[in-house]
Symmetry: C2
């Protein structure tokens, strides 16, 4: 931040815009180093913007009234309903009863639940951490697989498998994790291209499902559980479903809300109702029907945490895009790749972007810092815009698989203690690279078929 | 709401504006009847505004980026620091050690703490409920005064006394309770007059201190405790202070932040730093120094509750004032008081406004519903603008004394079980009326002295 402040602003950029950049850079540095939690760093950034009068208080705080931010907030509240009613658990047990007789099927049952919920719940902590993880852990324990000697019986496999499949689920939907709508905003600010809910999904569905079919099986081959047959898991699922009894009123209402919200999000082109408004309708249904109580919202601290960092970052990035600094950067960045064919520039920059995630503990920090500049350089080299926008967007999720701290559920699954770190990293590298290769190659073809480039 | 919708909009008012009014009226009705908690009702109102396209999603949500709303949110966070560090308790014990040798002095010690904190903490629940109440209760119990036979020894007096003095503390500062900045917004929207922090305080200081000197003594006379001498209370305070030891680093930082923020608020005219930005600076200091942790903010559910209803109401009221409906109402309302001198209109309407609080369980619901229309009618009768604006603003706090549910600490102090309801209401009526009379008469003179009318 100090470095930016000390450099003179380039010609055509006002001192105010330059200070804005300095505060933005300082905030991102804070997000990476985290002397305080991310939300606190962003709030300090917002305060600094207003105090230094780089923005008016109204401008600095405007992100907190932004519909994208409220979309995420409201969706976090809905995920509370999924947890509270137990519907998420029930869906997982349905899958397991059906497919969980073998350990690979068991893994896919839980991964499938995660994938289904990702269409709706942008909190991967709530999904993979809150719903899937406790089931996976208790099933591993049911097979007497615990950290230590018995880890490899079943638990090691499940933990590694489910973290990697969660990362894939994140990439499939714009609601896959909280940074995705933010990335869509960055893309729109830089190129004018709007990634809607349905476009994100349409672009992801073919490469995503191919990767979902290949990478997990690869993991199963490379790191198999000692127990291959898991009839007891399917039995347990049946018993749990028996114990849960028929669907409660709350679960039915939650399911109906889920269907309503997800279908409205997919059909925005038909009715034009803003995503955030759809999410608010979902909350209204849940509140009016008593599925969620008011306290559920005010005590949902994960939601408020995201709200604060999200609102601040959205606003800073938007303000920055209004300054002309990004355009300016794009012009000068063109020089870096002079003489390269665009595909080479895309390949090199994508690899750097992707594996730089070893240095980040959060998709948000990484994509906020690097998405826009990398996109601009790739575009300056002549790459087709949609191609560049989407590859970087999907990769921003897939890259989280490389480490055990790549995105929020990482510390949860790794922290269960079943998998040694070297194994986690080695297989994380293999799985992420497999995903990247599949998404890029299949994606290239699929988006060409769709006529997007 | 349905009634408003069925009535045709008056000439010159668009259908859209009329729908806005209908949703606003529906929201207020919801705040009064509370089929769901207030925050939920407001959130439903916001969703309805966006869904019916009366406002765009951006417009409907804009209140959540409003500096006034963030001022309140940030101040709620600061009050957490006051509780967490124990500074509030220490201040109370300082007062008690000094003044608490007699029961009246004891009451004033606690009331004085509340008054001091009101300069800074807009959550009367945190102040009177979180800091003062536990001390009052434990001191009553130290004198063996418990609900039932021994109630009148000390507890009954303290509970009644402290609730009434809290209501007075609320009226003294724009930060006295959360609705005050909202009322200032209503006043500005209706008249263009801006009630700053310092103007609110300057206008309140003389009538407020006179009332603070008279009404509590009146209560002491009418409802004396059996125990008049309370040397043990002063001793206990001394012991507690001994046990707390010297001020901790956290307390010192909290005190410094308190001094910094309150003095910046009072001197806005000199430096022009927005109130919300000052509050954010306070939060930044507390976060950076570790007095507050990030979790303290995200789990502060009272703050988030207020944030949601506040942001929604601020926006609705603002949007409504842009429609021309309020101006229209003011024109037609002029007819009601035709031929009355302005002081008669002011007196009659003020009395109706004030005692209508028997029907409300919240200052917010009451003032949101009635402040603007009553102000407009009074102004239409020719009353001086500042006079009308301030009397209604201060009264909006004082009126909360009439019942045991008038504002948030009511149920806490009444619910302690020391005072029967008939006594509470009888003395509540007397105290409120005493306050109203003092504020109006002394206020009239004081504001004339200040040249405000």
């Amino acid at each position: 931040m100090a470095i930016v402040l000390l450099m003179p602003p380039p010609a055509g950029i006002t001192a105010k815009s330059w200070h804005l950049l300095a505060i933005f850079v300082g905030t991102i540095a804070g997000l990476i180093v985290q002397p305080l939690p991310g939300g606190a760093m962003v709030l300090l950034g917002v305060a600094a913007l207003a105090l230094t009068r780089v923005l008016t208080p109204q401008q600095a705080l405007a992100g907190y009234g932004d519909p994208t931010v409220w979309l995420v907030l409201a969706a976090f509240f809905m995920s509370r309903g999924m947890l509270k009613t137990g519907l998420g658990r029930r869906i997982a047990f349905w899958f397991i009863r059906k497919l969980g007789h073998r350990s690979l099927g068991l893994g896919y049952s839980l991964a499938g639940t995660d994938l289904l919920l990702a269409s709706f719940i942008p909190s991967n902590a709530a999904r993979a951490g809150g719903i899937i993880f406790p089931i996976a852990k208790s099933l591993a324990e049911a097979y007497d697989s615990r950290p230590g000697e018995s880890a490899r019986r079943l638990g090691s496999f499940l933990m590694l498998f489910l973290y990697q499949t969660d990362v894939m689920a994140c990439a499939m939907f714009i609601t896959g994790q909280a940074s995705n709508p933010l990335i869509a905003r960055f893309a729109q600010a830089a190129t004018g291209l709007e990634i809607s809910y349905s476009r994100w999904l349409l672009g992801a569905i073919v490469p995503g499902l191919v990767a979902f079919a290949i990478t997990p099986v690869l993991l199963y081959r490379l790191y198999p559980p000692e127990i291959r047959e898991t009839p007891r898991a399917a039995e347990i699922a049946g018993e749990e479903l028996g114990r849960m009894g028929p669907m409660t009123r709350g679960e039915k209402l939650m399911l109906a809300t889920f269907a309503l919200v997800a279908s409205l999000w997919m059909t925005t082109a038909l009715h034009g109702i803003n995503y955030a408004v759809v999410a608010l309708i979902g909350i209204a249904v849940l509140l009016l029907s008593g599925v969620l109580e008011w306290n559920d919202l005010t005590t949902e601290r994960g939601a408020w945490d995201v709200f604060i960092w999200y609102g601040g970052l959205v606003r800073m990035a938007e303000a920055l895009s209004e300054t002309g600094i990004t355009q300016r950067f794009a012009q000068s960045a063109g020089g870096i790749t002079t003489g390269w064919p665009w595909w080479l520039a895309l390949a090199v920059l994508l690899l750097v972007y992707f594996y730089a995630h070893y240095g980040f503990a959060s998709i948000t920090a990484h994509s906020t810092a690097m998405y826009t500049p990398f996109l601009l350089v790739i575009l300056a080299a002549g790459a087709p815009a949609w191609l560049a926008v989407l590859i970087l967007a999907y990769s921003s999720n897939l890259m989280a698989g490389v480490t055990h701290y790549g995105t929020t559920p990482g510390p949860i699954y790794f922290g269960a203690g079943y998998v040694p770190q070297t194994t986690w990293w080695r297989l994380g590298f293999i799985a992420s690279t497999s995903n990247l290769v599949i998404w890029v190659t299949v994606g290239f073809i699929w988006w060409k078929v769709l006529g997007w480039w």
